[in-house]
Symmetry: D2
Subunit: 270 residues, 4 copies
């Protein structure tokens, strides 16, 4: 299935670790829809993952970049424009990591060096990315920047730990920077708040499987998959959504507006 929805568009996709990644699916689908793009990830993630397979499949180049380092972002953005032959039309930020989660530190017992580091990787990186794009005037008018987020930014999911606060910061950056990017460059900035997704990152969260089942039974249409998220992301990169900006868009089968479902109620009554 292809609509040529992104024909002639150029972009950068962060965070395609392996074929479970939302960014991976987005790259595959963007390629099918006619886009050309550069893939990027942190050097350490590049070593762990299989991104070269994706690069071949989508006829893309891979440029390593640590998204917390402005000089890496500068290099990435310059090179990408050279490779792709012009300014960018879309950018996907799909980066998140909490050392407190990885090391099993409870939310009430944080190591604050790790908290700062996780925020830098997961949220401030989005500001750094946009500031670099903005300063280099690297986006075409009516371009589109998207970051992936999670509803823990609005509501409590106890095991999500400090990633909740990181996502709240990320979503705020989307609004704050989105204003200047819109006003000055006519570029839109949005976040997609996705269902729990069994990516390699998602599965690292404690109690993830139980939570996926809960969300599945709570959502009238069930959880959204990585591929469905990729499709939705494409609509935001397309020319059909030019006036959507500063929004946090829930892509979750309806979970976000549920109080309780009949299935959960029945389960509780047993």
């Amino acid at each position: 299935m292809s609509y040529n929805l992104l024909k002639g568009k150029r972009g950068i996709i962060f965070g395609a670790l392996d074929e479970n990644s939302i960014a991976w699916k987005t790259a595959e689908r963007a390629h099918e829809e006619g886009a050309e793009f550069v893939l990027t990830n942190a050097p350490v993630a590049l070593r762990m993952g299989t991104i070269n397979t994706l690069a071949e499949k989508t006829n893309s180049e891979v440029i390593p970049a640590d998204a917390t380092k402005v000089e890496d972002l500068e290099n990435l953005i310059e090179k990408s424009q050279e490779i792709l032959g012009g300014k960018l039309d879309f950018v996907l930020h799909s980066i998140g990591m909490s050392i407190n989660v990885r090391k099993g530190k409870h939310y009430t017992d944080q190591n604050y060096d790790w908290t700062h580091k996780g925020l830098d990787v997961s949220a401030m990186s989005f500001h750094k990315l946009m500031q670099t794009l903005y300063k280099k005037d690297a986006m075409n008018e009516w371009g589109s920047i998207v970051a992936l987020t999670y509803m823990a930014a609005q509501r409590v999911f106890p095991d999500y730990n400090d990633m909740a606060d990181n996502k709240a910061y990320l979503e705020s950056v989307a609004r704050s920077f989105g204003y200047f990017f819109g006003k000055d460059k006519k570029v839109r900035v949005n976040t997609i708040s996705q269902s729990p997704t069994p990516t390699s990152a998602g599965q690292g969260v404690k109690g993830f499987t139980g939570f996926m089942n809960y969300a599945e039974r709570m959502s009238p249409l069930g959880n959204a998959t990585a591929l469905e998220c990729a499709d939705y992301t494409l609509t935001l990169f397309s020319d059909l959504t030019k006036k959507v900006t500063l929004q946090n868009l829930f892509h979750d089968g309806g979970f976000s507006n549920m109080g309780v479902s009949q299935e959960i109620m029945e389960e509780m009554e047993e």
Copy 2:
């Protein structure tokens, strides 16, 4: 420009009064994207407008229906399926009218018969439409129902009068019925909260032009047009947004998440 985004899809479009209508633009664009559909409007609106021009242009039939009358909706839905040759994939509800506004009654001096009538036309009609679709099992799986709304449902716009409360009711109906439509029929239901738009209906609101200018200067990307709203609506009818449901989606150049813009501040300082 066409992506064949709605190729093979069948639908019903309410509320195309004249070429300024969002529903009109949606019909034109849906036709370009390969959809087939029935146009409908209240008998009185059909007489006032020029819908036959649109019907010819989009190769559509027109079936009159008063959306407050269940029997009219039943007839519409039956006939539409006969004409289109199968169940429906999309429905657009673009209906709104306040007698209190028309007659110049202030919000603090309502005529409650008119308030009830306006609610019936503007909001309860959406429930009636969905209840009829649901009972007749008239939607295909993964079909999409969209209603147009306005941000007065969340925040105060003094001149919007009782339409604010009608839109709040409409958005609640989208969530409430969307749950059952999702769970039982795998159909998604969303509302689009659009910028002030100079449709014939919009222009009837007191102080409309002043308000459009205000919104234009507040929104980082400016107001969204009727045509842009049509494009956005198409993405929600397409197969690329299957897991988006129960949402109220702002399509407004960013207005909804603005506190104040620099332009408004400068204007205030003068």
Copy 3:
């Protein structure tokens, strides 16, 4: 326990049916805090309940009023000012009823006469009440109007039926009328969104007990009781909250901002 928080204040309290009612508890507590007030309810509710016990206990008079009838409201407001000796400082609207719920009509199979009637009683009555207070200039400056609501206005609780949409309308009326009441009369208008509460009305909702248990386990502080809601309401009637207006205030032990609790997760895993 008394702080004399409402000393010298005069008001009207709607909806005290029996001692389980939030309005009943509010009347008792308002009396302890030094307020004087009139009690009112629909004639049919007055016959069913035991309001005279409350009237004696709080040294109050009872004036019957059908809140859907403007003439009843006019009479109530005039008489109340005569009895209390001046303009009003606070009003509590605690009224809600769905015939569809009572008669067991599913949300997807509504009887629309009943839907209109339920809306009139549960939500439009709040507009009628405020319009009558406003026209009669019956509120003192810095007075406070509160209506009770439920979170089904924002999120789906399937068994709550058309009361969800009624509450969405009610909350919108609070904002819309609150603007004019604030600007013109310096009166604040808010809604309190309360935990599921085992009042006589609440218990009529299908699956109520199961849902109370669910909410109890989801809320970090557990469900809020009727007495606690009364206490919270008093703070909104007091002089300590003069600039709080147009708000929908959750009083629910934290439920509204929960995604999932550990207790619910553990229950799901069993």
Copy 4:
């Protein structure tokens, strides 16, 4: 005016710089309402301000603490319990500072060392404070923790710079930690989102006066003052709000739910 609303309650108040501070007013009013408390501020702020005047007036001791240093917070909490003779019932966090703002760095041209430092002072300090209180089991059951915030956490106010993102993080921390504090210790955690207030900190923001005027004309009840904010804070420390938790409470004369006011519209039309 005193209701003895906080009689017998013990607390800590951060951030009373001078008599324009909300924290200063809160201390004065808490004292009037019968509370005993310790005042604290960063050593540098203590030198700049006049906190000893407040300490004398409210019969309080001052303990310096840099809220970004866990050891300072530990010392503060231990000493406060010794001085006050028991566990704490309330804590007010009123701390915020952006070096980017101070140094005139635009939001699109951040110095990220300063961004991190501002976040640490303005937002992560709230986590550190709560983590220290939690680990030391220093709060009484049904105690109350409040942090002051601003609506830039939800919507764009261009001059608010990176403080917007800091406040978003702060509000998320309130929810995330509030869950564990509620569940484990029966302590409530909320934020108050206050009108623009002419404190010494507030006035440092560029274009502050123009913005205050704008907010005044947008809010149906006008801007909330520092004293009114103090009063509102007291209600959240009192026993009358025991089940309010995880909330972000707007105290702003209605600003937060306004789309546009008549006054602003008239101004725009001139």
